[in-house]
């Protein structure tokens, strides 16, 4: 057998709005089983990158392959069904639905029958430690709980690759630590994870590999430690943050 195939391969990805380049020439690969980090200051194009990968925005340039299959140009729901799920930075549960019903919407992607979808939705809630909140109106959750609901919805689609968009922002240290633990557990259960995060300590603790974006361009990529030591990165991002 040859070298293992990457789960996600992004080559020369670019996205511009009008004349403005939000992301340009981004290339990287994510191997099965890893936790992959994306670092960068605000406005670096991280969320735009996620929107391109999940099909919410069409690419202006480049290709995206998921497990060897080209996925750029597909609709978001097709990409989801191929095994790429994502969370949103601004968490907004479906209005007028209970926590369980919110997750059930996602579980229907794999289980068309209502009873099976409900059963798998409960499992997904259990995996993020929210089983006891199933019947609550989703809009009554706390911020930390909504983040976990967002993750539960994403994993209920039974993805192979999970994209997490700034899941830890605005949480207390305890809440963040608990969520990190959950992310690690989901990864251990076999889901490859790609996460956007501000906090350098969390990225360096969780992610084996990472890329750094700045003004839509890729500054560095590789092993997280090496990436963070990169002189350009120090200057562009960490240096300015430290000063």
């Amino acid at each position: 057998m040859s070298a293992p195939q990457p789960l996600l391969a992004v080559a020369g990805l670019g996205k511009s709005f009008g004349g403005l380049k939000a992301v340009s020439d981004v290339s990287f690969t994510v191997m099965p089983g890893e936790i992959f980090g994306i670092i960068g200051p605000n406005g670096a194009g991280k969320t735009t990158l996620f929107n391109c990968l999940s099909g919410l925005l069409p690419l202006s340039a480049g290709t995206v392959h998921l497990d060897g299959r080209r996925i750029d140009g597909l609709r978001p729901h097709e990409i989801c069904r191929l095994g790429l799920a994502r969370t949103f930075q601004i968490v907004r549960p479906f209005h007028g639905m209970s926590v369980l019903e919110n997750v059930k919407v996602a579980a229907f992607a794999r289980h068309p029958a209502s009873a099976a979808a409900e059963q798998h939705a409960r499992l997904a809630l259990g995996r993020v430690g929210m089983a006891h909140l199933a019947d609550l109106d989703a809009e009554r959750l706390s911020v930390a709980e909504m983040r976990r609901l967002e993750i539960a919805r994403a994993i209920a689609t039974e993805p192979r690759l999970l994209l997490l968009d700034e899941m830890l922002a605005g949480l207390t240290a305890t809440e963040a630590a608990a969520l990190c633990e959950q992310i690690r557990r989901i990864n251990a259960e076999g889901v490859t994870i790609m996460m956007v995060e501000h906090s350098v300590p969390i990225i360096s603790e969780l992610c084996g590999n990472a890329i750094v974006l700045n003004f839509g361009e890729m500054l560095a990529s590789g092993a997280t430690r090496a990436v963070l030591d990169d002189a350009q990165v120090q200057e562009a991002y960490l240096g300015s943050a430290a000063s």
Binding site: E78, C80, F88, R92, F94, G96, S114, D135
Partner: protein, 336 residues
């Protein structure tokens, strides 16, 4: 199973009771027929408006397709309901799919979807009003035939009442079956946040077209029943914007979040309109609509969930308490 279909079963029982009252008096039967027919069409309309967030102001188009298919089918080809009803439903499904594809591909949502659907029904209204073989704005009479049963022609109103009870039950049970299965969940997700829903594997286009077609088919069936019941169709009463607005009003007043909400709205407003007309007399032409419009404005502002929403919240009070205890559970967990 019973629990799942309770929201369909209870209104059906009430409708049967209403039909029973109608048997006693032809005037009551006439009111029952209007409430049952338009109320049921409003339920079908609400699958789109209330559950998917697609507020159609052009549903009279589908009602008119139903009514005119029956009328022209009989006048032009001598066809009875056995043939015309299925044809009407097929035609409505086809037009809904075409209109839906156009609107959704164009990215119309919110107000603009409503206005576009209104435009489509206005085109139909104006064209039918100008078409000689469809009777122009004078409309068409369905001629009485010696073969009465084949053309559903009865001397009394009650057989039509019975047909309408069946139509109501069909619509409620079918809708509830959809709403409690995958389509219902997908529709509500699309109503709230299309982007997030798509990212969770919801094929937005397919499910918006599904609800549009289902709603149109049921509405066309309503129009077909209308034509057979009254043996007369004309553009104003079957294709006019007034009918579409009426559906919206029944939905708003009864409650958009509930399967039976629009039916409640129809059951309250149609008899109220009759009373107003009886007491104010025809001398004050228009004053009943003024009252109607005022009621609509006030209720839309003060009771966003509709009367049914208020009623539903009353009925659901016990489960609300259950939620409150579930709310405390994590706190207990954290303390232990």
């Amino acid at each position: 199973m019973l629990r799942r279909f309770l929201p369909a079963l209870v209104p059906t029982m009430l409708a049967i009771a209403g039909f029973g009252v109608g048997l006693a008096d032809p005037y009551f039967m006439e009111i029952f027929i209007m409430v049952g027919l338009i109320g049921t069409v409003a339920v079908a309309w609400n699958l789109m408006a209330g559950f998917t967030g697609l507020v159609s102001l052009g549903h009279s188009l589908f009602f008119g397709i139903g009514a005119y298919t029956v009328a022209y089918g009989q006048v032009g080809f001598g066809l009875g309901p056995l043939a015309t009803w299925p044809i009407a439903m097929l035609m409505a499904a086809a037009s809904a799919l075409c209109i839906g594809l156009l609107c959704f591909r164009y990215g119309l949502r919110g107000y603009f979807f409503s206005i576009a659907t209104l435009a489509f029904s206005e085109v139909a209204f104006l064209l039918v009003s100008a078409t000689l073989w469809l009777g122009r704005s004078d409309g068409m009479m369905l001629p009485s035939s010696p073969d009465a049963l084949r053309y559903l022609q009865f001397d009394h109103k009650w057989p039509y009442g019975l047909i309408i009870v069946a139509f109501l039950a069909l619509t409620l049970f079918l809708s509830q079956a959809f709403l409690t299965a995958r389509p219902g969940y997908y529709w509500r997700a699309l109503r709230d946040n299309e982007g997030a829903a798509e990212a969770l594997g919801v094929p937005a286009m397919r499910y918006k077209l599904l609800v549009f077609a289902l709603s149109a088919v049921l509405t066309a069936l309503g129009g077909a029943i209308f034509a057979n019941t009254f043996a007369f169709v004309d553009p104003r009463s079957t294709l006019g914007v007034e009918l579409s607005i009426q559906l919206l009003v029944f939905g708003i007043i009864g409650g958009l979040g509930l399967l039976w909400g629009p039916l409640l709205g129809a059951a309250l407003l149609i008899p109220a309109g009759e009373l107003l007309r009886t007491y104010l007399g025809s001398g004050f032409h228009g004053i009943n609509i003024v009252a109607y419009a005022l009621l609509m404005i006030v209720l839309a502002l003060l009771l966003p969930q509709g009367l049914g929403g208020v009623l539903g919240a009353r009925l659901a009070r016990p489960s609300a308490e259950k939620r409150a205890t579930a709310d405390q559970a994590p706190a207990v967990e954290a303390a232990s």
